[in-house]
């Protein structure tokens, strides 16, 4: 089994991403959407949440949400991959279950 976890809140504002990372089994995938994409930016005081977890989990961000917020792909944490809505759909198909962390 493999799970696609979605996280839609900034890790500066809420505990959602930290809950997801703590409770996601190794090998799972995490897709950051909506305000969740801020957590994927490097150089911040909470960039460590993804930095520390990226050995165990695969991280993705939703490109359209990155662009909407004026964030640059150059400044994403190393190893975080960008997908569009089509890629989001593919991730739901490739994994067995989707778990939204709300």
């Amino acid at each position: 089994m493999s799970i696609l976890h979605t996280v839609n809140k900034s890790t500066y504002e809420r505990d959602t991403l930290e809950a997801c990372v703590r409770l996601a089994a190794k090998g799972g995938s995490v897709l950051l959407i909506e305000d969740g994409v801020y957590s994927a930016m490097s150089g911040g005081s909470k960039s460590s949440v993804i930095d520390n977890a990226k050995g165990d989990l695969n991280f993705y961000v939703l490109g359209p949400d990155i662009k909407a917020r004026g964030l640059s792909e150059d400044r994403l944490i190393d190893g975080v991959k960008v997908v569009d809505y089509k890629g989001f759909v593919e991730l739901t198909v490739e994994n067995d279950t989707v778990s939204a962390w709300l």
């Binding site: 493999s2 959602t16 703590r22 409770l23 996601a24 089994a25 778990s99 962390w101 709300l102």
Partner: protein, 135 residues
């Protein structure tokens, strides 16, 4: 082999401040009629949902906490509480409602529904689910 799917309800929100806790419980109660394998997990502020002694009289809204004790009658008896979330909030199992169910296969013996598990155990459990609903 059973056709039943494994449904997991993850509860991460405190009660009353928002309606998610209560409307999540409504899903669980309706879902119980569908003969699926159901588990509930309470993590983060979701553990507050099960606090004993809730009294909403002065706020003037419905106290839905007694409904949790009916879960056993609906054959919902796999209730997982994350140890780390309890500890972070300075809580122990004694602060929570004692939820039980009666085991038909053992002459209706009363058994505990709640199991306290670690994050790691919960992560493994999540990984075996077919449908995960998060509230």
């Amino acid at each position: 082999m059973s056709d039943a799917k494994k449904f997991m309800y993850i509860n991460r929100k405190a009660p009353y401040g928002t309606i998610y806790a209560w409307e999540s419980l409504e899903v669980v109660l309706i879902g119980a009629a569908f003969d699926q394998e159901v588990s509930l997990a309470f993590v983060d502020d979701g553990v507050y949902q099960l606090m004993k002694g809730q009294d909403t009289t002065e706020v003037g809204i419905k106290n839905f906490s007694p409904t949790y004790s009916a879960l056993g009658d609906y054959d919902v008896n796999k209730i997982y509480i994350e140890k780390e979330s309890l500890e972070a909030r300075g809580l122990t199992l004694d602060d929570l409602q004692h939820l039980v169910w009666e085991d038909e296969d053992e002459d209706w013996a009363e058994k505990d529904s709640i199991r306290v598990v670690t994050s790691a155990e919960l992560a493994e459990l999540f990984d075996t689910q077919d449908v995960v609903l998060s509230f």
